[in-house]
């Protein structure tokens, strides 16, 4: 089964929409790989704390954000743009329905945790690593200074089946 976790990148804002994750002008691509350079390229935070060119984003396999991530357009390109950049876990307070389902449909995970647990993750020193134990539903984040914080999460049982199967197409082809 696929392993989840690794170096994390943080985006401290609610309501990041799929237009921001991947702008519509790239929806004319037929290949998922073509989305790779354009992940979050137009996203700007008010405090200037996000740089789409940053090394942190390039190296990340976990994205940590706030609430309602992935709202707006249904484009699965938003999930693929993460996927082709090797990001297979998004952690947030909540997700928009279609984005969340698109993640699990691709066999990768959107993890909802409490606001307090999120604050704890955001407070860690830079160069954070997040380990995801999907069986015991446990997240462990380690800051650059070695400090560790942990919390549990709950996956919807059906979403877990999709992850186990490697996505909805495989699951549906097997069952329907």
């Amino acid at each position: 089964m696929q392993q989840f976790g690794g170096i994390a990148t943080f985006i401290d804002r609610n309501d990041i929409n799929t237009d921001e994750i991947i702008p519509a002008k790239y929806l004319t691509e037929i290949s998922k790989k073509a989305l790779k350079p354009h992940l979050l390229e137009d996203l700007r935070l008010d405090d200037g704390s996000f740089d789409p060119e940053s090394k942190e984003l390039q190296q990340a396999s976990v994205l940590v954000t706030r609430s309602n991530f992935g709202c707006g357009s249904s484009r699965e390109h938003a999930v693929w743009a993460l996927e082709v950049n090797d990001i297979n876990v998004v952690i947030g307070r909540s997700f928009a329905r279609i984005f969340r389902q698109n993640m699990f449909n691709c066999g990768i995970i959107a993890v909802e945790v409490s606001a307090e647990d999120l604050d704890m993750f955001f407070a860690l020193s830079p160069e954070v690593r997040v380990d995801v134990d999907i069986q015991s539903e446990q997240l462990t984040a380690t800051g650059g200074d070695g400090k560790k914080v942990a919390c549990s999460f709950t996956l919807n049982p059906f979403d877990r089946k999709l992850v186990d199967a490697g996505g909805w197409l495989v699951y549906a082809d097997r069952n329907y």
């Binding site: 309501d15 929409n17 237009d19 921001e20 702008p23 519509a24 002008k25 929806l27 004319t28 691509e29 037929i30 998922k32 137009d42 700007r44 609430s67 309602n68 709202c71 707006g72 357009s73 249904s74 484009r75 699965e76 999930v79 909540s94 928009a96 329905r97 279609i98 389902q101 698109n102 449909n105 691709c106 919807n156 049982p157 059906f158 089946k161 996505g167 909805w168 197409l169 549906a172 082809d173 069952n175 329907y176």
Partner: protein, 428 residues
């Protein structure tokens, strides 16, 4: 315990319950457009799964960028076209017959009360106006829909929105839904189905109901839904007249889908529209909504009238009533895109296109175009657009552009003055 309309539709389409809270539904209509479908087609072909579960239940259209603006969009259209031919999909709408999906498919009578409808497009919720369960999905869901005719959803939970009062002059369904989104916020209805009811909804035409349901997703809702009634039956009558002895019989039959009096809702929102003013968005989220009088005087560069939200004949009539005999401001570029060929044709017949052209508007063919910043009216950095569309996200209509969402009436008023304007000054 009573059931909501959504619960009744789910129960009638249940294929599987892989867990008690997850339901796999049989889908009546799988709709496809050329932005999210070609990549599904290519993936299915790569996997040796290039099949369709039932070509009669698949409806396909090229609408987002049409005519194609470049080689890439031409290729997307070609993949769709070849696929539709290969699988003998009869209801495929190509150039000359194509229009914005969520306006075109209802016009063709494809959506009926009690249906389940999916599309790789977040505004699929529009079709809830017909008393159907209609939801936007991603490309993997679309692939499974095309291949197997099923889609998985969590067990439906609903919120009830009761709209009562008397609609003031200059206030439209667009203003009501913008106000609802303001009250709920952009994730206030996440994982919920918004069921619209109340005297205002009962007296609304289908076009207005579609506008309401269309933007339910902007509050995070899975779908909007209206109870099918005589208004629904009248709209659908040309398509269902052979199925029923009379229109009354159809209306009676539709009642089987109505929510029971003791149905359970997660929450309820009551709105009295009697004192509602025309609404407008500011900033970059659709819940950032103010009374238009608060933003009056802000200069604009472009007015865009069209889209699945407000590109139907009723919208064009309402805007034309303001534009008639007037010229738009020199500082403004006006763009009208009637949502479908039938709307365009009807607008021509009624002399509305002439009113728009005489006022200085550019009239485009039906397309989604600039609504999502793909073509046909993209903004430059720093420009502002008064738009009848559905999203004001940062960069939505072009990087660095600002979109103010409003009704067709308010957009027409803005075109005349060159600034955000309370449309009631032109109405009496």
């Amino acid at each position: 315990m009573g059931q909501t309309i959504a619960e009744k539709i789910f129960a009638a389409h249940l294929r599987d319950t892989p867990t008690p809270n997850n339901m796999v539904l049989d889908i009546d209509v799988v709709m496809c457009h050329e932005i999210t479908t070609p990549i599904a087609i290519v993936d299915l072909m790569d996997k040796g799964m290039d099949r369709v579960f039932d070509p009669s239940k698949i409806k396909a259209v090229i609408d987002h960028v049409t005519p194609p603006k470049d080689s890439k969009t031409a290729t997307q259209a070609k993949i769709m076209r070849d696929w539709a031919r290969r699988h003998k999909i009869k209801d495929f709408f190509d150039i000359g017959r194509n229009g914005v999906c969520h306006a075109l498919f209802p016009e063709k009578g494809f959506i009926r009360p009690g249906y389940t409808v999916i599309m790789g497009d977040s505004h699929t919720c529009t079709h809830g106006a017909f008393g159907a369960f209609a939801a936007g999905i991603g490309t993997t869901d679309l692939e499974v829909g095309i291949l197997k005719g099923v889609c998985a959803f969590r067990a439906p939970r609903s919120m009830k929105i009761e709209v009562t009062g008397t609609m003031p002059l200059g206030v439209t369904a667009k203003d009501i839904i913008l106000n609802i989104i303001k009250q709920l916020t952009v994730n206030g209805a996440t994982d919920l189905i918004m069921e619209f009811s109340g005297s205002v909804i009962e007296s609304m035409d289908m076009s207005s109901r579609m506008t309401l349901c269309n933007m339910s997703v902007e509050a995070g809702a899975t779908s909007g839904i209206c109870l099918p009634d005589h208004v629904t039956a009248e709209y659908l009558w040309p398509f269902i007249k052979d199925d029923y002895a009379s229109m009354d019989a159809a209306v009676d039959d539709f009642k089987k889908w109505h929510s029971d009096p003791d149905a359970v809702y997660e929450k309820t929102l009551q709105i009295d529209v009697s004192t509602l003013e025309p609404q407008v968005t500011y900033d970059f989220k659709p819940d950032q909504v103010k009374n238009i009088s608060e933003l009056a005087g802000s200069p604009i560069d472009q007015v865009y009238i069209g889209s699945c939200t407000n590109g139907r004949i009723e919208d064009i009539r309402a805007a034309a009533a303001i534009l008639k005999g007037k010229t738009i401001a020199d500082s403004v570029r006006g763009i009208l895109t009637p949502a479908t060929p039938a709307v365009y044709s009807q607008a021509l017949e009624e002399g509305l296109i002439k009113i728009f052209m005489d006022s200085g508007f550019c009239v485009l063919n039906p397309t989604c175009g600039a609504c999502l910043g793909m073509s046909s009216g993209v903004l430059a950095e720093g420009e502002t657009c008064s738009s009848t569309t559905n999203r004001n996200f940062n960069g939505r209509m072009g990087k660095g552009g600002m979109v103010h969402l409003m009704s067709p009436v308010s957009a027409a008023a803005a075109a005349v003055t060159g600034e955000i304007t309370d449309p009631r000054r032109f109405l009496n």
